[in-house]
Amino acid sequence: MRGKFQTLALLGLWVVLVLLLTQCAPAAPPAPTEAPPTAVEVPPTPVPTVAKENVAVYAHVTTFPDIDPSVSFSNDSAVTSNAYETLVWYNPPGSPEILRPGLAERWESNEDATGWTFYLRQGVKFHDGTELNAEAVKQAIGRTMTLGLGASYIWGPVEEISVVDDYTVHFKLKYPAPLDLIVASGYGAWIFSPACAEAQGDKASEWFNEGHDCGSGAYVIESYERGQRLIMKRFDDYWGGWQPGQFDRVVFEVVEDPVVRQQMIEAGEADVTYELPRENLDSLDARPDVTVYTNPSFQNLVGLFNVRKPPLDNPKVRQALSYSFPYQQFIESVMEGYAVQAHGPVPTGMWGYSKDLFQYSYDLDKARALLAEAGYPDGGFELLFTYATGDMDEQQVGELWKAELARLNINLTVQGMAWEAQWDLARSDPMKAQDAFVMYWWPDYVSPYSFLFNMFHCEEEILFNLGYYCNPEFDEMIDRANELSGSDRAEAERLFIEAQKILIEDAASMFFYDVANTHILRSDIRGYVDNPAYPHVVFFYQLSR
């Protein structure tokens, strides 16, 4: 009997422990603006006096792989965009101008866009207390170029950076390039205090990734618990000044599970999040305390056709396949309307996009007729479709397309692969590789050239032209357009659109859809506008509550 009592006592101990702890636990998620403890209560450890703080919480989908401003080339831009600034910013679609001043108040180029001068804003301080000047710009970009990692290749056209005076910096280019767009990139173009990076020597990258920064942005990284939470506080000396209602601190919570993110936003535990289950967005938007913001992103889903391998070396067959996918049905039923059918490779809302470009529609009769013209009246061939394992949308594109192609007597094998393996297969012998390579594309700096050059320009050694398309006329057109991007953007845009007509006519790829950006915010947050040039970045300085 005593043994039984001992056991029960142990169990009881657990229950008591749990109850005690739950009593100690905050009854509800503690709002950061809660009043400090009253004088009657004596906290067990000294709790600092908490002024009414305005704290924003971003429930972020992923961890931040690398927050070194020279290397960051991933979702970590959610953090870097608040700690650092660029010389120029790209504006959200619909703005009167594509670009707006950042750390540079104005800029100009020579006639052929091979020389660019940026006039810097005066009185800007970095978080380490040093001042922004032309030398800092030169050295910050110099470090990024020297490290040669991440998006450092965007500086490829730069031959020399020279300091004209304290607040004027000049870039001499090897060939004409749109440097105003390049300096506005969300990756590899951050300006930071070279002094603090230098002070860390070889350990600078580790130092940054321990949760430090030395940018000039509105927020400073205060603490970083890897894989869990990053806290930023406002930079009191920010050159833009501060207004009432702006946030004092910003907390980035890493929450990988979408269901948990949804619970957080519903409970007011988080103020901003993204990538929630699409089927729940309508009901979330119906809530008075939550707002769902949706707009086109600069990311699209393409299916690059292997144009070297029969039968897809025949444009008629590729055109036939382009007529065989039920675009609208997929967007409405699978994507729940959170996508739009693409007009060619340049996504909706980006410069170089044209809604007048031809769109293939779902028409199996046309597909059959084209197949007959190409010498395949009864179909009768096999194709391999590869996609990155784990991406449910890509997988469903494949499965739906497989069903449609079966009606044309074409057997599509839908093969999910780790990205590395998918890429490896595509970079091997094109005659033994996949027939359709499905992937997303997004720009490093916002230019149609990113889409058209990387995926469709002739390549001797295969890198991202994974459909092996090669058309000298097309290449000449986009290269010329890229040269003009800095000096005559209207003409460049015309040429980019003309070039896309060639791709669409040649059916070099399936242009499935442009992905929608969906962000979910608490309704009391004011001032939010998504800028697809900086994916899933929330510029907290622009927000208030």
Binding site: T7, E225, R249, V254, D424
Partner: protein, 340 residues
């Protein structure tokens, strides 16, 4: 064989196991289609960047040279650098391993303190109401998917009652106003050492749901194992003799019977502990717990081989030492077991 001889022999075997594991993981890393140089550069590597990275990472050298360099680094305590984050893996492990160890150890503590007593009583009082109930608990614990249980517990204790937090190691109010000063990475320990009682309390509160979710399987297993071995042991003659001698029931159950019945339970608990180091991924994702499971899963998804290799080695070390410890413990608990 003497105990020390046995330990030395086992350690030598452990070294062999570690070398084998390092060779196997290194070979797999080179055979599986992937380009570490491209991964090192970033998502959009250029040809020039890849060529440069290949030189910097020594990937242009013959495989055996690469392996020897890898082993040399390991012997100098350098587990390598992640190709995805460019950060030293050792530093990452100092963050993620203590988080997982704390969670798993707390879960194991729950399993032991709930599972063993229930198993003993269940075995001692066969077919009683307690036995039926604990068997039901055991079956539920073993068969319930952790991701589902975790979400249910969140919905109930956070969503409905507002009693327990949704996830994370500490509340953000702690990070903002009473941050945990990292010493060992075990928050319970660090908060005690630094006297940060508010954070200690909060860390404990944050451990309850994920540790319980993780422990349900081990609780079920412990109840089942302890019950069946207890039933067996309680039929032994020495127990009958003890009963006839009028020894108290507590002494019979917990001193005489449990000592002989506990060994298989400890074995499965220890193996379940090591498995949980990387197997707790679902619990870690649901409860936003920055642990080893999440870390290695992200590495696998990104084909980040240096991380995968390092974590495999670390987990192997745990397996080897836990097994050695168990063998020694068995010999200590059960005189019939001899080392050799």
């Amino acid at each position: 064989m003497r105990r020390w001889e046995y330990i030395i022999r086992r350690l030598a075997l452990a070294a062999l196991v570690l070398v084998s594991v390092s060779v196997i993981t290194f070979t797999i890393a080179r055979v599986v289609p992937s380009d570490p140089a491209a991964a090192w550069v970033g998502p959009r590597p250029t040809k020039e960047q890849i060529a440069q990275a290949r030189l910097e990472l020594g990937l242009d050298k013959p495989l055996y040279i690469q392996y020897l360099r890898y082993v040399d680094d390991l012997l100098h305590g350098n587990l390598g650098v992640s190709v995805k984050t460019h950060q030293p893996i050792l530093r990452d492990l100092k963050t993620y391993l203590p988080a997982t160890l704390e969670l798993v150890l707390f879960g194991m503590l729950m399993a032991i303190t709930i599972g063993i007593p229930l198993g003993v009583l269940s075995g001692a009082k066969r077919n009683s109401l307690l036995d039926h109930s604990s068997r039901l608990v055991a079956i539920a614990g073993v068969s319930m998917p952790t991701f589902w249980l975790g979400l249910l517990l969140q919905l109930f204790f956070f969503g409905k009652l507002g009693l327990l937090p949704l996830g994370g190691r500490v509340d953000r109010s702690i990070s903002l106003y009473n941050p945990v000063q990292r010493i060992t990475g075990f928050y319970l320990m660090d908060t005690v050492v630094t006297g940060n009682w508010v954070a200690l309390e909060d860390s404990l509160v944050h451990l309850i749901l994920p540790a319980f979710t993780l422990a349900t399987y081990a609780i079920g297993l412990t109840i089942r194992m302890t019950r069946s071995t207890m039933i067996e042991v309680l039929q032994e003659k020495y127990i009958v003799a003890a009963r006839a001698a009028g020894l108290p029931e507590r002494t019979i159950l917990f001193r005489l019977a449990l000592k002989n019945a506990i060994v298989p339970t400890l074995t499965v608990l220890a193996l379940s502990f090591v498995y949980s180091l990387t197997g707790a991924i679902l619990v870690e994702v649901i409860f936003s717990w920055p642990g080893l499971g999440t870390y290695v899963t992200n590495a696998i998804l990104n084909v980040d081989f240096p991380v995968i290799m390092a974590v495999t080695l670390v987990v192997t070390v745990f397996y080897v030492f836990i097994n050695l410890f168990l063998d020694l413990l068995q010999a200590a608990l059960d005189p019939r077991v001899t080392l050799g």
